[in-house]
Symmetry: C2
Subunit: 437 residues, 2 copies
């Protein structure tokens, strides 16, 4: 039987695997983590609303009943496309057909030193690190006698006004204002500043303008200071420097979250070098209408790592969001199944069922194409969609309970400051060069 290898167990890889597992192929799925992560809810882990285990599911578990499927925990370091082999630390693996779905990581536009001060939000570790810094900042503020330094601890800056930044800022504001309202004695929730910095002239810049406006209003109701048309020129351990129309200004802030930029997984460049595939400006691979690499019908690239345009090169590529990856995963599984049967199928076509973002308590914005709305109905839809796509019934139940509980009590149940340096967790986590676990 044909051997299909999938690299990456995110939405693209896992959806392809679930469909291919029922076909007459041998399937190997490789991921450097042992679990599939429901990334759209990662910001809730970062703000203490959910535990990592509640939005993750072991890849093995999801695919356990298919005896034709093997799951391998390994990091793919190279793909020898001429030999049809993927390379990992403990050996190579031959494939007949390859699906690459390794996604993106955050990037700092050449300022890698910023990562120390402003962690991004892509992995479970990222989320726990942000949670640790945010919760620690409040603890530090509580015992800080100097009022200026206390203000530094009480200011949280989120860089980037896309969906992740907006959802983070909203959740942080709720955490500060509602959840922790009566927890501290030396400051009040009105002393906490949440700042959202966005370079363009509106939040959610890829959404329709009316929804950007709703989101902005929702954020302002939550007390988030939204700085639009504002870029960040420097990040240090205790402040950020922002630039508005050429004027620079320092904003003291001890806790900074990065939600501003992503770049493609390194496998993108490796594939490009090996096969001559073209990359877009952020390193994503330009794919054919059937999601393959030009001239390599046996290699598919899907999800965030793929740059796909319905109208061909030059037009706007599909956004790097979960629904695109899911649909592409299912599509390439169909392509492979049909090839085995000697059939071809139509090019990939993305069906946009809409976009959703939530901004704090009982508030969200929805753009379903024909219908655009915000507020409570959008929030209910948001909950329904996110529960529906969570993998695992137990996780669905646990997350629903967490949300219901948090809705009625304003509490967030997973507020642990934890990490490798557990014994020393009372020390400053923002120091540069620190090992932060």
């Amino acid at each position: 039987m044909e051997h299909v290898v999938i690299v990456g167990g995110g939405f693209g890889g896992l959806y392809a695997a679930q469909k291919l597992a029922r076909c007459a192929v041998n399937l190997t799925i490789i991921d450097k983590r042992n679990f599939h992560l429901f990334q759209p809810l990662l910001y809730q882990v970062a703000t203490g609303g959910l535990s990592p285990g509640e939005i993750a599911q072991p890849i093995r578990r999801v695919l356990r009943r298919y005896s034709n499927v093997r799951v391998k925990l390994a990091e793919v370091t190279d793909i020898r496309t001429d030999d049809s082999e993927v390379v990992t630390a403990d050996g190579t693996l031959s494939y007949d057909t390859l699906i690459v779905a390794t996604g993106v990581t955050h990037q700092y536009f050449g300022k890698d030193q910023w990562e120390n001060f402003a962690p991004g939000l892509k992995t479970v570790e990222d989320a726990l690190e942000i949670r640790r810094r945010v919760l620690y900042a409040f603890e530090a503020a509580e015992r800080e006698p100097d009022s200026d330094r206390r203000k530094e601890w009480l200011t949280i800056a989120v860089i980037g006004g896309g969906p992740t930044g907006v959802e983070m800022a909203g959740a942080l504001s709720e955490l500060a204002r509602d959840t922790m309202r009566h927890d501290f004695r030396n400051f009040g929730s009105e002393d906490i500043r949440i700042i959202l910095v966005e370079g363009r002239n509106r939040v959610l810049p890829t959404y329709p303008e009316s929804l950007s406006l709703s989101a902005l209003h929702a954020l302002e109701r939550l007390g988030v200071e939204c700085l639009l048309n504002t870029s960040v020129t420097e990040i240090t351990s205790d402040h950020i420097t922002i630039a508005v129309h050429g004027t620079h200004r320092q904003v003291p802030a001890r806790t900074i979250c990065w939600a501003a930029g992503v770049s493609a997984s390194p496998l993108g460049e490796i594939l490009s070098t090996r096969t001559g595939a073209k990359l877009d400006s952020s390193g994503r691979i330009l794919v054919q209408p059937d999601m393959t690499i030009t001239g390599r019908p046996e290699i598919f690239v899907i999800g965030d790592l793929a740059s796909f345009t319905h109208q061909g090169e030059g037009a706007e590529p599909l956004p790097a969001v979960a629904p695109v990856a899911m649909q592409q995963g299912r599509y390439v599984a169909r392509v492979i199944k049909n090839r085995i049967a000697g059939k071809t199928i139509a090019p990939f076509h993305y069906r946009n069922r809409g976009t959703l973002a939530t901004i704090g308590r009982a508030s969200a914005v929805a753009d379903l194409g024909r219908a655009r709305f915000s507020g409570y109905p959008a929030w209910l839809l948001w909950i329904f969609v996110h529960i529906a796509f969570l993998i695992g019934f137990e996780n669905r139940l646990l997350v629903l309970i967490r949300w219901a509980w948090s809705y009625f009590t304003f509490n967030r149940g997973a507020r642990l400051i934890a990490g490798k340096r557990g014994d020393r967790s009372a020390s400053d986590p923002g120091a540069p060069g620190d090992v932060n676990w």
Copy 2:
């Protein structure tokens, strides 16, 4: 108002704080972590059954409604008993009355190098590290072509046959045999060895003999190899050396959990140096019948850090378990309240309501003094007691759901291999000198 300072937010400190918060005192509780941890269930975090957030609760949250209570995240490094001051990294704090409840940590009987290979189980980080090693070992076994080395990966040794060791071994066996039964292709659950090593002639040596026997049978039914009268003389990254009646033998094992010994928190020795208080052999402070230090009526020591005997020195001290700490916490709160009213109360008397240990699925042993039983009824009692003492209604609900789910599906929902070295989690976690997060 009198200022009472509590050091430590475990069972002793938190139960004292909850009672004192309702009295006419100013109260400060200091802990180096921001949360109270329900330690009796930590082994379930280590075996993927629960998430850390489900058995932890922020100390601030528990005490938030009492305006006379302050919570401070800090590590106490010294206690200047002559000046009535506790010392932390960011300053000193005066007290009128002090309650020290900082518990114990694991010790390796002078072989500190073993800690690298055999982590103990006292903190959330410990539990996640053990979870990571156990789950990683199965992944490594799955891709290991050499059958001898695969056996090393598939052998897990638990050192110490007390309640923690017994519960760990039982849960590990279930994880290996039931939860992960169909997850792997290159080995079967029958290839997995769980070894429990105990120096004395029975497991649960502090329990009545009949219960030790029930526990041993339960472990053997679960396939755990119980090596009694066996001591460990060496631990390395890929084997342990055991000694039975003077004969040494090497047992290849890549994953080792330490449940063998504890020693008192360093504050015990500091208090002893400052006040002349006597310590027992494991560094616990011998306390007066009212839980104070001899000659220091303003300093109470409670919980695992205290060595208390109803019959005075020489007799068997109370065991280092949660119920003792809880009762002592409540007792000292009563002593302090009565002192303010100018009254004295009777010496502390521990009411032993019984001991419980669970060994795998629907199986436990209970010793309630008058009644001793094991099996399903003991297991139901175990569940009831543990849910009842969990702090926070949300946690109770979540843990109950996790357990019900796990009972009916044999699944364990929190099986993430996570840590600082997320990107490199596929590398060998057992290498000596490694930073293991």
